[in-house]
């Protein structure tokens, strides 16, 4: 057996690791760096399309955020939306993944079909749900006649209708990530536990879920990041209404940026949204401890 010197081993590792990572880093830096820096620069300006003016105002836009009640309302709403959506997606995605993990005829086809809600373009599926939520003609109210709610037109209910749409769309995403995680769990562990007489629930709780932790952490992380930035589904469903009650941070930013043409403050709002998302990600990853998932 060849004996490789330890120094050479490490040195080659380092060189190879840099080479392996270089294309990814290059892509990210070359494409994303300028636009992001440009956006941050824009958020420090007062640029309103209509006035044709552009002036540097430093932190003024960000200070404006602190007193912007509309922003605060949007912030609270977005967090509520994200928390409820992601919780439901996890609650529904896990059983779905477990179901798809079992072997049964037609499993392959079912796995492909289950992906459809995630695969349909959001602008189309949200419009479809808008019809499903129609107070008189929609399927939802026809199936639940005792409820008969004006889903999208009542200030309280509209946000929850949006949550339903997001859950419908994203549960397959969570399920498919969890499924991949389930596939990585070696069968022997489960088999051994079964031989030892452990019941199904115990097996699930004590063995499967802990081993599934990496996949769950990732699924929740990416869903949280997406849910906090939700735009398409809500926009198509209600456009931020009625009476601003479904206006999430991204919708507020969009309206300010493109409807009002207030590029400076609009970018600030978008970046504030981003800051919230990053904050959540950092807190989330810290709370879970330096995991074995990643760093």
């Amino acid at each position: 057996m060849r004996r490789v010197g330890r120094g050479a081993w490490l040195g080659r590792e380092r060189v190879q690791s840099v080479l392996l990572v270089a294309p990814a880093v290059a892509t990210l830096v070359l494409v994303a760096l300028f636009p992001i820096v440009a956006a941050i620069w824009l958020s420090l300006q007062r640029k309103i399309l209509l006035f044709g003016e552009q002036s540097f105002v430093g932190w003024d836009n960000y200070l404006l955020l602190l007193s912007d009640t509309r922003f605060h309302a949007a912030l609270g709403r977005t967090f509520y939306f994200a928390l409820v959506s992601v919780a439901l997606e996890l609650l529904l995605g896990l059983p779905l993944a477990l179901l798809l993990h079992r072997a049964f005829p037609g499993r392959g086809l079912l796995r492909a079909l289950v992906l459809i809600p995630w695969a349909i373009p959001t602008v189309v599926s949200a419009r479809m749900w808008a019809w499903l939520f129609h107070p008189e003609l929609g399927l939802v109210n026809r199936l639940l006649p005792w409820l008969s709610v004006n889903w999208l037109g009542t200030p309280g209910w509209a946000l929850h209708a949006a949550i339903v749409v997001d859950v419908w769309k994203s549960t397959p995403f969570v399920a498919i990530l969890l499924l991949a995680g389930l596939q990585a769990i070696p069968e022997d562990v489960d088999r051994a536990a079964r031989v030892d007489g452990a019941g199904a629930w115990t097996r699930l709780w004590r063995i499967t879920l802990p081993l599934l932790r990496p996949a769950m952490v990732l699924a929740v992380l990416f869903r949280m990041l997406d849910a906090l930035r939700v735009f398409d589904a809500v926009w198509v469903l209600t456009g931020g209404g009625p009476a601003h009650t479904t206006e999430t941070m991204s919708i507020y930013a969009y309206k300010t940026l493109l409807r009002a043409g207030n590029f400076g403050y609009g970018t600030t709002l978008a970046i504030a949204n981003f800051a919230c998302v990053m904050l959540v990600a950092v807190v989330y990853l810290r709370l879970l401890g330096p995991g074995r998932e990643v760093e």
Partner: protein, 428 residues
């Protein structure tokens, strides 16, 4: 290990896809303007209907102007999406497109932002202006100068079921009375369907109601939202929902929701744009032949003004100056008589030129459009101000609050006035 066995197969598949992908992605360079053919880029939205008549229109233009080629770029019809695409391109100083469509409410704003080249002093405008109807002409002007050529217009109309209501109501009271009479006989009917979702359509509906109650806030610069007439107008809208005259779904409905409900025969009255007529009279429509159109109601019974909608054609201020003549020629061609007739007959677009409504061809082939001349003459533009985009969102929010009953009309409008004053007051 199954993985290894499948490895080569997977690699092959990947390679095939990669090659195909790269082949597919390698686009030929767009044909640059050669020495003897100039390409004018026209950005517009797809006109719903057979593509041939419009293609023939463009071909006709190219035949009359040898050496010029028109390249059409389509944008979604959704006003917000088109606006987004334009702000990205024009905001970046893109010289393309040379000619583009713009919503009637964008004209002042885009002019102020420097996206449009004024048409003042051009022979095009000199020949076009006398032909235009007052609404579009007013919407095309800002700061005393013309900035765009009206292409086609839209106007708010009152549709009714002629079998349930033979004579068109002229006041709000009459409308409610007629509707309730029909609803009493058929409980599944909605009295009046309109657009109450929080978007621009709500502003349009609200303005029409405000104008019907005698309010102004029309073509002057400042939005007058806090007047008693405005409050009365918005209160009427809230009343239709609160009293059950309009179905609860109205607060989340746009044009299509209203149209489909009316088309299914489940509404007595509908406020909508002229496009609905063609759909309602289509083969297979449950209400075919039983629909009438009239002006919107008012307090005292005189025919109410509908809101002016529609699109205009403008010149990109950043466009290549060498293209200016060609672009102006295209603008002239598309806003000319022939084009207006084509649009009216084949695409059901209301002309902005008065004479077209009486042209024999339109009278023969598109009688409905010809019959709308009185409505279009009365059509009122929304406030023509560069601040419209800035204000629209705020106004929509306040109106939505009033219409859904979250706040009383007076309070919502006071707030809207305060916010819009604050916004317009922070100008340079």
């Amino acid at each position: 290990m199954t993985g290894l066995r499948a490895g080569p197969g997977r690699i092959c598949l990947a390679a095939v896809l990669l090659v195909w992908g790269c082949l597919a992605c390698r686009d030929p360079e767009p044909a640059e303007t050669s020495a003897d053919r100039r390409t004018i880029v026209l950005s517009m939205q797809p006109l719903w209907g057979p593509p041939e008549p419009f293609a023939a229109l463009l071909a006709d233009f190219e035949a009359r102007h040898p050496g010029i080629r028109v390249e059409v770029r389509t944008l979604p019809n959704d006003s917000d999406l088109a606006r987004q695409a334009f702000l990205t391109a024009l905001g970046g100083g893109d010289p393309r497109p040379d000619v583009y469509v713009l919503d009637v409410v964008w004209v002042a704003e885009f002019a102020r932002a420097g996206f449009l080249r004024s048409l003042e002093g051009t022979p095009l405008w000199a020949s076009l202006e006398p032909e235009l109807l007052p609404g579009p002409a007013a919407a095309a002007r800002w700061d005393g100068r013309p900035w765009a050529a009206p292409w086609y217009v839209d106007v708010g109309l009152l549709y009714r079921r002629t079998d349930l209501v033979p004579h068109a109501p002229s006041t709000f009271l009459e409308l409610e009375r007629d509707a309730r009479r029909a609803m009493a006989q058929d409980p599944g009917l909605a009295g009046l369907v309109w657009q109450g979702r929080q978007y621009e359509g709500l502003t349009v509906n609200a303005l029409e109601s405000i104008w019907g109650h005698g309010g102004g806030g029309g073509s002057e610069g400042r939005l007058a939202l806090n007047t008693p007439e405005a409050v009365a107008g918005v209160r009427w809208l809230r009343h239709t929902i609160a009293s059950g005259l309009s179905p609860p779904g109205t607060t989340s409905g746009a044009e299509e929701e209203a149209r489909r409900r009316f088309q299914a025969g489940r509404a007595v009255f509908m406020r909508n744009w002229p496009y609905a007529w063609a759909e309602l009279q289509r083969e297979g429509s449950p209400v075919r032949g039983r629909v009438g159109v009239s002006a919107l109601p008012t307090l005292d019974g005189h025919p109410g003004p509908g809101a002016l909608g529609g699109w205009m054609l403008g010149l990109n201020a950043h466009a290549d100056p060498a293209h200016l003549d060609a672009a102006l020629a295209l603008l002239g061609h598309l806003s000319g008589e022939e084009a207006a007739v084509t649009l009216a007959v084949h695409y059901a677009r209301l002309p902005a030129r008065r004479a077209i409504y009486r042209s024999p061809e339109v009278l023969r082939e598109a009688p409905f459009i010809a019959s709308l001349l009185p409505q279009v003459e009365r059509a009122r533009p929304r406030p023509v101000t560069p601040y419209y985009g800035l204000l629209a969102d705020t106004v929509q929010g306040s109106l939505s609050r009033a219409v859904t009953g979250v706040a009383p009309a007076q309070e919502a409008l006071t707030e809207a006035q305060r916010l819009s004053d604050a916004m317009m007051g922070t100008g340079p």
